[in-house]
Symmetry: D2
Amino acid sequence: MSTTLPTSAVAAPAPGLRRHDAGVRGFASDNASGMHPDVLAALVAANGGHVGSYGGDPYTGALEAVLREHFGPDAESFPVLTGTGANVVALQALTQRWESVLVSSDAHVLLDEGGAPEHVAGTKLIPLPSPDGLLDPADLERAVEAAQSPMAAPVGALSLTQSTELGTCYSVEHLTQLCRTAHRLGLRVHVDGARLANAAASLGTGLGDITTAVGVDAVSLGGTKNGGAIAEVVVVTAPGAAPGVGRLRKQSLQLTSKARFVSAQLLALLEGDLWRRNAEHANACAARLAAGVRALEGARLTRPVQANGVFAELPTAVAARAAARVPFHVWDAHRAPGTVEVRWVCSFDTEAGDVDALLAVLGEELAASRGGA
Amino acid sequence: MSTTLPTSAVAAPAPGLRRHDAGVRGFASDNASGMHPDVLAALVAANGGHVGSYGGDPYTGALEAVLREHFGPDAESFPVLTGTGANVVALQALTQRWESVLVSSDAHVLLDEGGAPEHVAGTKLIPLPSPDGLLDPADLERAVEAAQSPMAAPVGALSLTQSTELGTCYSVEHLTQLCRTAHRLGLRVHVDGARLANAAASLGTGLGDITTAVGVDAVSLGGTKNGGAIAEVVVVTAPGAAPGVGRLRKQSLQLTSKARFVSAQLLALLEGDLWRRNAEHANACAARLAAGVRALEGARLTRPVQANGVFAELPTAVAARAAARVPFHVWDAHRAPGTVEVRWVCSFDTEAGDVDALLAVLGEELAASRGGA
Amino acid sequence: MSTTLPTSAVAAPAPGLRRHDAGVRGFASDNASGMHPDVLAALVAANGGHVGSYGGDPYTGALEAVLREHFGPDAESFPVLTGTGANVVALQALTQRWESVLVSSDAHVLLDEGGAPEHVAGTKLIPLPSPDGLLDPADLERAVEAAQSPMAAPVGALSLTQSTELGTCYSVEHLTQLCRTAHRLGLRVHVDGARLANAAASLGTGLGDITTAVGVDAVSLGGTKNGGAIAEVVVVTAPGAAPGVGRLRKQSLQLTSKARFVSAQLLALLEGDLWRRNAEHANACAARLAAGVRALEGARLTRPVQANGVFAELPTAVAARAAARVPFHVWDAHRAPGTVEVRWVCSFDTEAGDVDALLAVLGEELAASRGGA
Amino acid sequence: MSTTLPTSAVAAPAPGLRRHDAGVRGFASDNASGMHPDVLAALVAANGGHVGSYGGDPYTGALEAVLREHFGPDAESFPVLTGTGANVVALQALTQRWESVLVSSDAHVLLDEGGAPEHVAGTKLIPLPSPDGLLDPADLERAVEAAQSPMAAPVGALSLTQSTELGTCYSVEHLTQLCRTAHRLGLRVHVDGARLANAAASLGTGLGDITTAVGVDAVSLGGTKNGGAIAEVVVVTAPGAAPGVGRLRKQSLQLTSKARFVSAQLLALLEGDLWRRNAEHANACAARLAAGVRALEGARLTRPVQANGVFAELPTAVAARAAARVPFHVWDAHRAPGTVEVRWVCSFDTEAGDVDALLAVLGEELAASRGGA
């Protein structure tokens, strides 16, 4: 695992402008990090002069071509501003006004988007069970059947997350089964791919192999957590299934005027293999962390570690003391008495030393806890 | 008028990353330009390390303090991602679910936001007459009265644009009258300030002098057209009038995870006087252009030139040929036969030579037109 | 003009239940009246026993067959509960989420539906000029073109009202032109037919002759103002153009469980010719009233009288005193100084004597006004 | 239990108008029945002449007074058209745009309203566990806490159903606890009272005793299932908690022009004790049915029988054959293999003989099933 950050053409920041300690890193989220230097360099290059606004610029044009290399020659792409925005735009395009959407009971779109799908799209989300974040094709049929009642909102789409909110990945076979079942039932399939790069890196596939190739209709492809700053894009992999994305993007507040700056970030990640390198690095950090946690007495991994997130059960007091020393979040405060489930997320800029320092902190606090007990 | 761009700490772009000619500038819009170098420098400085996401970072905290210097000690601020997003979030906070909003018949929120206020907020917009983009306080009362019918959607707010879509500015007195009338009628007042800096520069006032001080309740303050890349912020100048902005921002797809990068741009513009310098410069370019157009035979200014936009009537063919040489837009294609109204917008990076070159092109095409006739 | 109400099988009301004077009638609106006795008789007949709910009853089935006789063999019908509900359901079915709708500047859906289209459907309405309530095909093209901007909400449908809010009727030729133009521009066509019966009676056509036959795609067909109590129905005359009405009806709060009672009312009106007799009667009363007004010194008809509404200009004080004696509404309080435009609406149960009494009141008040001047 | 229907002033239906067999009754739902004769008589009485529309009539005025006798002197009431409409209007008034609503996992508003709350109100519903349809106050706190995350939609209201979808009733103590907990957490409380009369009859209380008196803020009070045809009303029991209901009713398609006919139905039910007699009768029929089912070999009651619904487990084939003879619905087709849960609902017009006939059919089919096995 290399932890050397690449040399960049971007100069050192001007003195006085920096208001934070750039040497501090934690495990709170992969959105606590900033931009990869190559992404910043792309912003510098995209600056200057005048270009067409609202996507009529060479960076957005180049991005469309690059995304077709990843997602196939028919793919259409629409850069947007947030992951929630990508999800809400895509789900509107994939469904009729009166249709509902099946989601995982852990889904970001269900729990962490402030009610945006209901508010902006007017769409009912129907949660399905999802152990470790993964949906079971067998659950789709009953949910679709129940919603065929004239009193219900019929299901129009399935939305799944890859990698999942719980740090796991769907295999290609699993995805294929889900898409086949969904299509047989008349549903379109959406992937919330805020961390699609981490899944592809984990599975050793390309981005299209786990979307277009298995039958997915539209993807919210995230660049922000992959090393960008504000860099998301809706990729329609089956254009007939998702009309109107361009219009919905504007109407849903996701069209930026100076679009070149969003597209340039995504190009920096996706034109070469930076997306994969960043994801592999974050995943490797998570694996290193998981290995270390397995060796700690008093901690227990609670989910398979397949991407860049690590979940573990800790004594409540240990979690609190450790999080005060190295930032991370409690994921579930309502476990067995005296314990919580915590989440550590590794980022493109997490360093091996950061992982080792966290493990040392955990070891100390667990030891103190045992001594104090 | 200085046209020298400031020296910056940002290095030259890496070779191979630039896909456009940074020496080309036009008059299509102030969103065709990129970032002011100081804004880019601020992005560089804000990068690196981990900070709190979703606004829990030092840049967003510092921005709130800076905005209170501009808008008064009670002002609350919520960085967002687009001007349309700022308007839709602010209008939701200022109105009840069942209320409508009075707007200018030229308003961006009415004509150029893809139906977002209706789609996201469910809000009816009621257009009022607005010669040269300016609303008349005398029109408010009848509109409010008409909407008091139990069959109508009662009016909850007035939204005005400063500087207007037609390049004019409301005077302090005009604003004061509008706010007084609106408040007397029970309305809250919103300002679409995508170009508020240009208005303040034109009027020689501060930003708060034409908002907080005259009774405005909330502002969509634009940084993008002022030299930022993605830099907008909802400023609630009368907090009691606009509850829930933080929640509405998330629910309306306007909360970005790596918020430090939006706040840093706004800080670069607003902490010192860059916002004013950029606006004064763009306004001065527009004045230079307007003076030149007045001297052209066959062209006619159609609006007072009070900010950074210049509107003129040209023969249709002249407009088409000139726009093929220097980018700008036809504003109204349906004028007197054989003529169109065009719009030229100056930006923070417009140079005096750009203005003079445009004037030369117009002169040539007008002459050719006369010769050909 | 017969003013004899038909004998009915419905018994006299039980003493003590009646809380109003059933002998009082005015000209406020055709929704101030109650049910035609045959409609009430149909409710009596539809009562008793158990039938399928939500439309699975014999009355709703029979209504669909009757409506196909009127609107053609492909017509689909969906009974709903209010005229606003019919409009909002139909417009949602005729448009995509991101599309806007062209309407008359006098349209009920624009002015008198409390913002329901924006609130429930999220749809922007774009008003077009409409002298005497009638749209001009020549105005469609420019409106559609303007809304093709990527910043605008593209137009998906045209909604027109027949008979109009101003008591006029579109001719068959006028409708044909509007539909042809709309379809050429890619729009679907909706008719707000709250008073479609009055228009057909006025034009001497069937209901389908002014809808299906001229190219209309969906109709809000009103029974309430035609002699029903709660009796509206969305008729999809071009089923391919308006999918999902059944689902949208439920989702938009327009599906009643005991649907037999709505369908029975509509059957009473539409199975025979009661719809036409009621409309002809109301129209004839309006014509009688218009003839009388023409003879009054100091009153002036302001609109052609082609259906059951009469509009006139009166001195403000005369209007106020007359309305205190016979109920009617001021339509426009902002006319020439000292005058208002008033509206008188005739209903299925308006009697010739009611008209003559109103004329007498107007004559007296006008005379008193002249004497007093 | 009396099964004699009251004599009425309403005449026999005219021959030829009746399209159904008024002697057929089943157990499919309490909305398969028609109107109680006294309700029909009230419609007859309310007919004739002209009155103010949109609620400006003496019936609506009288209803408000009657509802204040039930729900307290501050209660405000707004007749509406459907139970779904009542729920969606009330929930909008009780919450801010950005708030979510806690509901039972069996709630009609969650499962059987076609996504209307999400579509019309843009509101996220958060389901809580509810054994036998009943919420546990202990579950509120965690749900509210989870939704306080800046990523979630904060909870603004609790909606409970009385009597529940599963035929049970909340006790006064249970309701008091729920309301206290909800208010302590800052929530408003809504009751879906489509069958509130059945609950009050079951508990031996008045309607206000289980709403206003225990702290409920607004009620969807159903008259349709209680013997009306189209007769629902939003009762705001704590006016300060639910502003704007009048406006929201119009905007949400629930304001009918000839409102006298809705109000007259509700008056017929609520002015005297018809509401209670109808509910007691239906409840008594359910109790008779439950007693009979308990005696059947092979059937098993699955829920406490506390109102007018009876739930039981039957062999799948028995359920199918019995439902072909007497209409009723399968409630849950996914129980233990070979069995389904069925629902029988008694109505105001269910007769003792209907119950006994159903029991006979069940007995026969169960016997045949045992014989065949």
